[in-house]
């Protein structure tokens, strides 16, 4: 028992030392281990940094799905193909944009997520994905004009204040723009997208405390 207590204290001490040296807390002079360290103050992540981080993850996942799954299947002439109507057609999988949207719907359903995101476009194939709020309209206009920049701001919706970040959604894989350019739902004034064109924007919203 005594040994166990000693071992636990030593382990705790080591962890504290590690935490102090890796986070820089406690300076670099006398980093002494203590059995009852005070918990580090939570400072929180800035809204913009948080939005950038979750956007990086969602885009990484989407890129992997588009390039490593969908494109690979197409190149191999696999019997499984991506289809807009995947739910009702055998041997089909969701399109990358649908995969992305389903993920966003799962986050919408999760009250613990702490943020929401959505893919919107000035030229949507589904009318419901057209920008709705003034901020979204402004953000998508800006991203089309400034493809290499992000658009940040604050917005009040339904009495709640949000930090909003908008990121350009560009034509990166040939399958994306060729499918959009050839889609039956496109309007007559639809642009002929080419590589790296901004086709829409990802809107990340974080409720402000």
């Amino acid at each position: 028992m005594k040994f166990q207590t000693k071992a636990s204290l030593s382990l705790l001490g080591l962890l504290c030392l590690l935490a102090a040296t890796t986070t820089g807390c406690g300076g670099n002079t006398t980093a002494t281990a203590s059995a009852t360290p005070s918990p580090p103050a939570e400072t929180g992540i800035p809204y913009q940094k948080f939005a950038d981080a979750v956007h990086a993850v969602m885009m990484a996942d989407r890129t992997v799905y588009a390039s490593k799954v969908v494109t690979r299947l197409k190149k191999q002439d696999a019997p499984v193909t991506p289809s807009e109507y995947w739910e009702d057609e055998e041997h089909t999988i969701p399109l990358p944009a649908q995969m992305f949207r389903m993920g966003s719907e799962l986050v919408f359903e999760n009250p613990e997520a702490g943020f929401t995101y959505a893919l919107k476009s000035k030229w949507p194939l589904n009318e419901q994905n057209r920008p709705k709020s003034d901020f979204e309209i402004q953000a998508l206009d800006y991203l089309v004009e400034h493809p290499d920049e992000n658009f940040y701001g604050e917005e009040e919706l339904g009495g709640e204040k949000y930090f909003v970040a908008a990121y350009a959604d560009k034509a990166v894989a040939e399958a994306c723009w060729s499918c959009h350019n050839d889609h039956g739902n496109r309007e007559d004034n639809y642009p002929e997208f080419v590589k790296d064109d901004v086709m829409g924007g990802v809107i990340v919203r974080v409720p402000m405390q």
Binding site: D88, F108, K132, L157, G158, G184, R205
Partner: protein, 465 residues
Amino acid sequence: MKGSKRLWYWLIGTNVILFGIIAYSAIAPGALTKTILLPGETSHGHYQIEMRCDVCHTEGNGIREDACLDCHAEELRLAKDTHPSSKFNDPSNADLLNVLDATNCLTCHREHVQEQTLVMGLTMPADYCYHCHQETLETRPSHADFAFDSCATAGCHNYHDNTALYENFLNKHAGEDDFLAEMVGLARSSPSPPTASQLTQIAADAPESLSGDAAILDDWASTAHAAAGVNCSGCHATEVLNESANQTTNHEADSASDEFRWSRTVSLDTCGQCHERERDTFLLGHHGMRLAQDLPAMTPAEARIPMHVDAAHRQLDCNACHSGHRFDTTYASVEACLGCHNDDHSNAFTQTSHYDVWQQELAGESPVGSGVTCATCHLPRVEDDDGNVWVQHNQNANLRPNEKMIREVCMNCHGLAFSIDALADQDLIQNCFATSPSQHIESVDLAKARFDEKQRKREARLKKK
């Protein structure tokens, strides 16, 4: 003096009546006293369980958060709900939600307001699509003359279930004949039991005092139960949990051991041990929903639709349609239904071509499974994701709305357009589809025209390139 005596009598009389009412309230069945508390007539969908206030309400008379989804979540999942509440959690919908809160079932489905309840339990004006889909009038020239209160009432769209009505599906099935050349039916998929487990009359393990009825033994031996090795004790011997339970049930036990007692009746849960999905879905429909809420079984006398008087007091449990020991599914398919139901639709069935092909099947003139019965449409065989076939026992499941029946039932024999026309025709529903549809719903034509136009535009674009 006379006046004060009269006053005394009056006071005593009033008190006797008052205490009588209080005493009656205390000992009367809950149903009678709770009825007084109902704020209004309960809808057709819920009136059977209206005495179980707590199913939907909190103690403070609020609405339980999961009250609706506790019973309806699975059907919304299967319907691939077109408007799940999660769809509206995007904060950019805030302005629209101010007009119509689509995240809350109660926005469209209020209860106890019978005077303003439409079909499907809708309690708001039927033109609700207008609030979010006004652009349709511009983006779909074909819809320019349609009224918004016809979107979900003309057989074209539904709010939740559009699995048989969405554009791609309509287009894919355009041009189908009214009567398909080949009928597609799901065969019963009873597992074929190993011969070793098949039981005969000699093997019946009922107590000696009960095993003398040859008719019962013969019925049992001819069923899938005996074929699958389910002996008498499989249904009639119920486990006794403790000594006191054993004592209290002795009056209905013909034979008892330390662990089991013999029960003449077979409970729903006993059937459900093997027929789980049938039991679960039965409890979700109008036949079993009272049992699901621990209320006495539904009886035809309590139905709001016409029933035969002589069936008024039948208890609706498994045995109501599958009486032992033959569990005759032929009887359960038609006669069991018509023994209680006495409305125009039910009574017209025997004058339909559906009934004719059922008679032909029974006479051995057409293949097994080619007949159409009440159960074919209302308790259909369905296939799960793993390919297992089972019988849906919630007879309301494909009636909310009736377009749910299209893929599950109608399209096994009929083309899509014909099916849509038939289900949108109220006269045809009344006469149980004895005649052909008298009206045509344009949805398949419109979808086909739209897809053809898309194709023309696509080809024109490719030519330009």
